[in-house]
């Protein structure tokens, strides 16, 4: 620490070069922050999953509905604690291009199934009492400036009403939040009873079942027991844990997400390499100066320390600024793209990784010229001047 003043002066001896190097490090870590937030969003469904929740879908494809009659049979299966269901409504509010999900479901059962969702008890009661009631997530409420008491029309793309209409109106009875900092709340829930009564076709079916296994029960066994029960029926089922379900979804995007992260990863390291190279160069140029330090009696180790500290300082200043601005941008992007790509988040793990990379890159950039300088005899080093 006592050398800090000396290191600091060294850092700024070539102001333009140092600033430019810091700026490219800044851009590299800004990129890193955005990249890890996007990567996180692709995976967030998996992380938010609850190991004791299982999802039951039609075996052939998710879009085939399941009979409502399955509910009691699933509930009666050994190891099942509770069960509810939801369906895909697929409507839009105002603009067909900005869609958010809407699910018809059972009010009390759904909130019991997802304890991480928080909503005042009285709002839940009010929703359960109002057949045309709906509740929305905080993100949605903010995005469209909606509040409790509003009546909103949702245009159906699939579910026409029995009277031929396509506009479904809902009274907003509550706004829920989630305990999970990464979980999205950009969706709307409404009553299955209303859905079932008013829709023109598809009556007596639901989209999928969600169930919770009893504490101690083996989720895999429960899943197999359920699928076995419906084997060879017209609607065979496929039961999987919530995590596996979310994962299979993420995998559908396939190589795209992987390719994007590969490209960006390559870029990140290129930028680091480029700035590291510049930093090494500035150490190389000063080898004779390091020899002067040694002549003055500085030990090899303190010279090495001074050189490394200098490159680490440059990396940290640029990198931390980049992470900071990246964090701000991620917050903004998470709001703007909440319904599009929910769950953007700069995780603590990513932050720690980034800082470790900064220090590592700082050492890597400084170590080779510094070691070379140390090995040179003072006379040779001075002669290079």
């Amino acid at each position: 620490m006592k050398y800090f003043g000396f290191i600091w002066r060294n850092v700024w001896r070539k102001k333009i070069r140092t600033s430019l190097t810091m700026l490219s490090v800044f851009v590299a870590f800004l990129l890193f922050a955005l990249l890890s937030a996007i990567g996180y969003a692709f995976k967030s469904g998996e992380d938010a999953a609850d190991a004791e929740r299982l999802i039951v879908i039609d075996k052939i494809t998710l879009i085939n509905p399941l009979p409502f009659a399955y509910k009691n049979r699933i509930a009666a299966t050994e190891g099942v604690h509770s069960v509810t269901h939801a369906s895909w409504f697929g409507g839009y509010y105002q603009d067909p291009r900005s869609q958010f999900p809407q699910f018809p479901t059972e009010p009390y059962e759904y909130f019991a199934m997802y304890p991480e969702l928080n909503m005042p008890e009285y709002q839940l009661d009010a929703w359960a009492r109002n057949r045309q009631g709906a509740v929305i997530g905080r993100e949605l409420a903010e995005q469209y400036s909606l509040k409790v008491g509003d009546r909103i029309p949702i245009q159906a793309t699939i579910w026409t009403k029995a009277d031929g209409g396509r506009t479904w109106e809902f009274d907003i009875e509550g706004i829920f939040e989630t305990d999970d900092p990464r979980g999205s709340t950009a969706y709307l829930l409404f009553q299955y009873d209303y859905f079932e009564e008013a829709r023109a076709f598809g009556k007596g079916t639901v989209g999928w079942y969600i169930l919770r296994v009893k504490p101690g029960a083996d989720p895999v066994q429960v899943a197999n027991a359920i699928d076995l029960q419906f084997a060879n029926s017209p609607n065979e089922t496929e039961t999987s844990t919530e995590a596996a379900f979310a994962q299979s979804f993420a995998k559908q995007f396939g190589n795209i997400a992987m390719i994007v992260s590969l490209i960006l990863g390559a870029v990140f390291f290129t930028l680091l390499l480029v700035s590291g190279n510049t930093m090494s160069q500035s150490v190389r140029e000063r080898i004779s100066e390091l020899a002067v330090l040694k002549t003055l009696g500085f030990s090899d180790r303190s010279v090495l320390g001074i050189v490394l500290a200098e490159s680490i300082v440059i990396m940290l200043i640029g990198g931390l600024l980049g992470l900071g601005v990246g964090w701000v941008l991620v917050q903004g992007a998470a709001k703007a793209m909440g319904t599009f790509l929910p769950g953007m988040f700069l995780s603590p793990t990513a932050t720690i990784t980034a800082i470790a990379i900064m220090i590592g890159a700082g050492i890597a950039a400084g170590i080779f010229p510094a070691v070379k300088a140390m090995r040179l005899s003072i006379i040779d080093a001075l002669a290079r001047a």
Binding site: I16, R17, L20, T21, L23, S24, V27, A28, L30, L31, L34, I38, K59, I60, T61, L62, I63, N64, G90, Y92, P96, R97, Q99, Q155, A156, T157, I158, T160, R166, F201, N232, P234, E236, S248, K251, Q252, F253, G254, N255, I256, I259, V260, I263, L264, A266, V267, T270, L271, L273, V274, S275, N277, T278, Q281, F340, L341
Partner: protein, 395 residues
């Protein structure tokens, strides 16, 4: 004239001693190469997707769905409605029969070859007219399915991307077994991501009764779509959306293409800024290394303009080399690379080839040029202003 000669002379001198400044010049080149690589690679996905989706669209074919439906998947039409559409004016007839295909579009799970996980593959039930309402489509291997049988013809792209879809294979969806009897080629368009069977068979297998989701008709001419739209709008028995096939597929590709561009452009700009810093750094160091040389030239009578332009030219040349390198790398690594992803609009997989198009490469080179000019300009000003006497004294 003298100035131009001077510029050329100094530039050549600079280029000749470039190898001595290899490390710092390489920084600039690599930085710009990275920008162009990322730009071309990310946007080649958008270009490839657009090409795949849009090449399926013809102006001579209209797609009719229930109004309000955003894709075939969430549309629905009754048998009666499909007959009304076939009889409407504007539809091309062959004798008494309309050239049309009423279709059912569902998705089914097939494993992807690349990661062995289930993916939503589009499964389309078609009528006999399906090959007539589409351009450039033909059976390339095996034979057409026989109506009424559980037989499937597979798009060429789907066959390459998903498991167990070769001619002669049988595949099981739920309790039904299907035989793959043929492959069809559709000029690389989105149809090639699909599996096709007889619509009646698919209605039974998916218990859809006698319902359809879309009708494609061949139009008498691209303009007769208005006639058709008017006629169907006036008919109280039906409430349809009539779109040209081209418009339909362009609306289907919008979400995904925009998503990629939304990621691609800001990233490129960010990277370009990083590359400008890299270029500035290397040009500043080039100017400072050549301080004595520049001062000597000035003392010999070369003007400040010669020094200024030669520095900018050096920077631009380095950037262009980087741009070429990045573009070449992107082209070699990504052009024609086949990938598949989930299209949110149709909730099903679309198989496409990355397309590193000449336009993308041109745009990339333009970006490189801009980076080179900015990266060279400020150091060039410093070089031109170098006080001659002082720089020489440092000798």
């Amino acid at each position: 004239m003298i100035t131009i000669k001077q510029i050329i002379a100094v530039t050549l001198l600079n280029l000749r001693n470039l190898p001595q400044r290899f490390a710092s010049s390489a920084v600039a080149v690599v930085g710009v190469a990275a920008v162009v690589l990322v730009f071309a690679a990310v946007l080649s996905m958008a270009a490839g997707l657009e090409r795949t989706m849009l090449s399926a669209g013809s102006d001579n074919t209209a797609v009719i769905m229930r109004s309000g439906a955003t894709s075939e998947l969430n549309s629905g039409l009754s048998n009666e409605q499909t007959l009304i559409i076939g009889n409407a004016p504007g539809v091309l007839k062959d004798g008494d029969n309309a050239i049309m295909s009423a279709e059912l579009y569902v998705i089914t799970d097939v494993k992807k070859l690349s990661n062995q996980t289930d993916a939503n593959v589009p499964f389309r039930g078609v009528q006999a007219g399906a090959f007539e309402v589409r351009d450039n489509i033909r059976i390339s291997d095996g034979r057409m399915f026989e109506p009424g049988k559980n037989e499937i013809v597979v798009g060429r792209a789907a066959q390459q991307e998903f498991m167990g879809l070769n001619v002669g294979d049988t595949i099981r969806f739920g309790q039904t077994e299907w035989s793959i009897v043929g492959t069809f080629d559709a000029g690389g368009s989105v149809s090639e991501s699909e599996l096709w069977t007889d619509v009646r068979v698919l209605q039974n297998a998916y218990r859809r009764g006698n319902s359809f989701q879309s009708v494609r008709v061949r139009l008498e001419s691209p303009d007769s779509i208005e006639t058709l739209r008017q006629a169907l709008d006036d008919d109280p028995r039906i409430d349809p959306d009539v779109m040209s096939e081209r418009d339909y597929y362009s609306s289907q590709s919008q979400g995904l293409v925009q998503f990629i561009k939304l990621i691609g452009y800001p990233l490129t700009i960010l990277m370009a800024i990083g590359a400008v810093f890299g270029a500035l750094n290397s040009m500043y160091s080039s100017v400072s290394v050549r301080g004595k040389e520049i001062a000597t030239l000035r003392a010999l009578g070369f003007g400040p303009m010669a020094v200024l332009f030669s520095t900018v030219i050096e920077s631009v040349l380095l950037a262009l080399v980087g741009g070429l390198l990045g573009g070449l790398l992107a082209y070699l690594a990504f052009n024609g690379f086949t990938a598949s992803t989930l299209n949110g609009q149709s909730f099903s997989q679309v198989v496409f080839d990355f397309a590193v198009t000449p336009e993308l490469l041109m745009q990339g080179m333009k970006a490189a040029l801009v980076i080179g000019v900015i990266g060279g300009f400020f150091p060039a000003i410093r070089a031109a202003r170098l006080p001659v006497a002082q720089a020489l004294r440092e000798l």
